[in-house]
Symmetry: C2
Subunit: 491 residues, 2 copies
């Protein structure tokens, strides 16, 4: 006998948690589609040669390799040292680059795609760290050029997604790489040093100002104390509301041409958000946002939950100028964001902000005795034809047992039709959530159940929500969760 268990680092859900998770996926997909993004799915594995174009580093050490049994034998036979032929994707950005380069001539540009699939990273097993997790990404890819206006549209999508998810108020934090690098240049920091300084600024959250100041003034960088202070003062700038954002930008004073370009783009972005009706409480300038990667060249975004800042960034991304340089000579600039949904769901569950949903099943059609079977089957089909999700009780049991099963399974309604009801052409409906019981003519049954359906979702997140132990986490657990966004962002 083998103990049934999942590998460490995965989040496997019980059915009613899966229903809640699926609703989030559906909501995100619907919103991405509303903004004109098209679906793409890629294989879970890529050729190692194609996937691992970057040189060494963290990413490569975390990669999962894949080989068939036949290939294993070959390796055992002596071909050691060779990398396995395939590897699991560790994000959706490298597969996107490969996809766009491969299908370049069949795509219409600017190419707007969304992709919602699982990715794989060989993380150290730790509570809240996942080796398999969903990413929900959008990107717009231009051919040769891509207007900064696409960067302005992205926060409107983020706003729409998290408004629709209804997991609490949030702020989209905005910064601009040109503004940052222009400012650095204005302080006499050269091109090569800028990414390194950026990386230090990105650590402010974790290390605190004093530690970062010490590093910037220390041997490695050797910045003058007044320069380090100006960098830190710059990184402290936050706006509250639309006009304040414009005022804070104006108060920065003059800068290099790159700095001015970044500021102009940020201003245009703020204007576009206003035109799109994004509430001004939902976006803010935050000049400490660095997204510690050399990859980004324009806008960078991070999104935080107002009531749960500890969760860290729940949606991150930015503008980049060269998506697929490893695969094609075409210049493919783009802008994109990523939501690490598995980690977000896990965190929301830990915080009590999501729980197991009601069942997707609207009603259980009960069965008294075997003579009623055909009637129960036919009634179930009639309700399904009207758009309801229905389970039929196929084995006659005591009614109490049937109610008990429906309750345990999270099914709200039980439809009962005994001899008496059949004779009178009616059905009795028991609402296990509200507790009431009512009789309805057979012709009106489907409509009656459909009209009650709308009230289910609400009940599932309200105080009356059922929590029957199905909310148990099933992933492995180790030490505490670490830094924000470790399972979240585009690289």
């Amino acid at each position: 006998m083998i103990k049934p268990r999942t590998p460490p680092g995965v989040l496997e859900l019980l059915p009613r948690e899966q229903v809640a998770f699926q609703r989030m996926l559906d909501t995100i997909r619907r919103t991405f589609e509303a903004y004109g993004f098209l679906p793409v799915e890629t294989p879970v594995f890529e050729l190692s040669e194609v996937l691992l174009t970057k040189t060494g580093g963290e990413t490569e050490r975390q990669v999962y390799f894949v080989q068939s049994t036949g290939a294993l034998e070959k390796v055992a036979g002596g071909d050691a040292g060779a990398l396995p032929e395939m590897a699991l994707r560790f994000d959706l950005t490298v597969p996107l680059a490969r996809y766009v380069a491969e299908h370049e001539h069949d795509l219409a540009f600017p190419f707007r795609r969304y992709q919602m699939q699982r990715v794989y990273r060989g993380e150290r097993a730790q509570r809240g760290r996942f080796r398999e997790f969903y990413q929900c990404d959008i990107d717009v890819i231009g051919k040769d050029t891509l207007s900064p206006r696409f960067e302005a549209e992205v926060p409107a999508v983020i706003n729409a997604v998290f408004e629709a998810l209804g997991i609490g108020e949030f702020t989209i934090q905005l910064n601009h790489r040109k503004l940052l690098r222009g400012f650095f240049a204005g302080q006499g920091i050269g091109d090569e040093a800028q990414p390194l300084v950026l990386r230090e600024i990105d650590k402010l959250d974790k290390r605190g100002e004093d530690a970062v100041r010490a590093t910037l003034e220390g041997e490695g960088f050797g910045l003058a104390p007044e320069v380090a202070e100006r960098l830190l003062a710059f990184s402290r700038i936050r706006s509250e509301g639309h006009d304040d954002a414009l005022a804070k930008l104006a108060a920065l004073g003059d800068g290099t041409p790159l700095f001015e370009e970044g500021r102009d783009e940020l201003r245009a972005l703020l204007g576009a958000l206003k035109a799109m009706g994004v509430p001004e409480s939902r976006y803010a300038i935050n000049l400490s946002i660095a997204r510690g990667l050399d990859y980004y060249t324009g806008m960078v975004y991070e999104t935080t939950l107002t009531a749960n800042p500890g969760i860290g960034s729940i949606c991150s991304g930015g503008r980049y100028d060269d998506l697929a340089g490893h695969y094609t000579k075409s210049k493919l600039p783009g802008v994109g964001i990523s939501i690490g949904l598995t980690r977000l769901f896990w965190q929301l569950r830990e915080a009590g902000l999501v729980q197991a949903a009601e069942s997707t099943v609207d009603a259980l059609v009960a069965l008294f005795d075997d003579t009623g079977l055909d009637d129960a089957l036919a009634l179930s089909q009639r309700l399904r034809a009207a758009g309801l999700n229905v389970e039929t009780q196929l084995e006659a049991r005591k009614l109490g047992k049937q109610f008990q099963y429906a309750d345990r399974a999270g099914i709200r309604h039980v439809v009962v039709r005994g001899e008496d009801e059949v004779a009178r052409g009616v059905a009795t409906v028991k609402d296990l959530r509200g507790g009431e019981q009512f009789e309805v003519a057979l012709d009106g049954l489907a409509d009656s159940l459909l009209s009650r359906r709308g009230t289910i979702a609400h009940a599932a997140t309200g105080e009356g929500a059922v929590s029957d132990g199905t909310s148990r986490p099933t992933s492995d657990g180790a030490a505490a969760s670490s830094g924000p966004d470790s399972n979240g962002g585009t690289p």
Copy 2:
């Protein structure tokens, strides 16, 4: 520069093909939910020890193993011979067994689950054979017992799925293991020989009657010619219509108690299908259906497309008595079916029965010049709020170019608002599919576009459908496709 390409044996779709594929997934999911099935997703990898409980054989040789870079180094360091810790799932049935055994105490039985995820098999690369493919499964799992009535409900689900998919008329072929084995026993074939005879009967399609007869009469089996002929005559029995199915069953004569049990269950199943209103043209008794696996113990199902029998079974499964004997002492009988959607989609595309869909984007809001940007952004948001999927033209270009882009991207409507239209509070809509152009008051624009939406799906499969080269297959291709259902069924 690295050549961007996918590994062999995967089906990667262009965006509008992906839209068509996604619609099929959504339709299947909606139908599974209508019949009361709950969603489950499992990790793509399982512990090798857990996944590979069966002894050797075909399955094990086709397994993909997974290891992180760190584990690779360990293997290189000497621990050769040991299997990698994890492997990719090769079907959804073993993960279901593990899931039910692991979460047994948190589930309500009978447990009805659907699962739609990709599975992995190290198949020889061949045209029409996939190493990664979607399976869409349902199963009902009982605790200790499961009434045969659940086997009767399954064909109703199959009927509803393929009716909703609208890929042509189909027949659900029915047989019963008890009937088969009871008949074999009646012919003097012992318990041990029965699975072997079954395996030969299962080869009738591929080998033909003469070859199978020769094998049955040959050394291995040594059946008398009249016994072999009775087996073949039995396997030729097919019904047409409900009454004929009952008549054919009656005409079989008396049999062993097991035979009679199987016949009674088949009769009850036919009665239930009638009660559920499944059209009688959609199901038939076919006593050659064997599903060459020892696993099944009751009903077995295969489904074929009437106009495309060459595609083979598009949905298969059956009743089994012991789902998770490797993981738990609990007896968990069940019944389930599986649709191999990737292979089905590929075959339908090859046969010209599916093609790239219209874009999910309902309308492109055009942009004449930069002064109109805010208006275009605001109008797009207004249309989205009404439930439409909208892309905004963010860079002013010649209108002809914008039409050209929309046409290429499969977007049906372009909304144009020049100065004149703005002044008069109207918009001009160009329908790129029908070709017509009309003016509508801004207040009526969303409703007008929504009302035209319903006609899109139809146009996409009708004669007017666009086929702009996006229908290109992207999988690798080798020799011809082989036997039916190789990528399809539950084991």
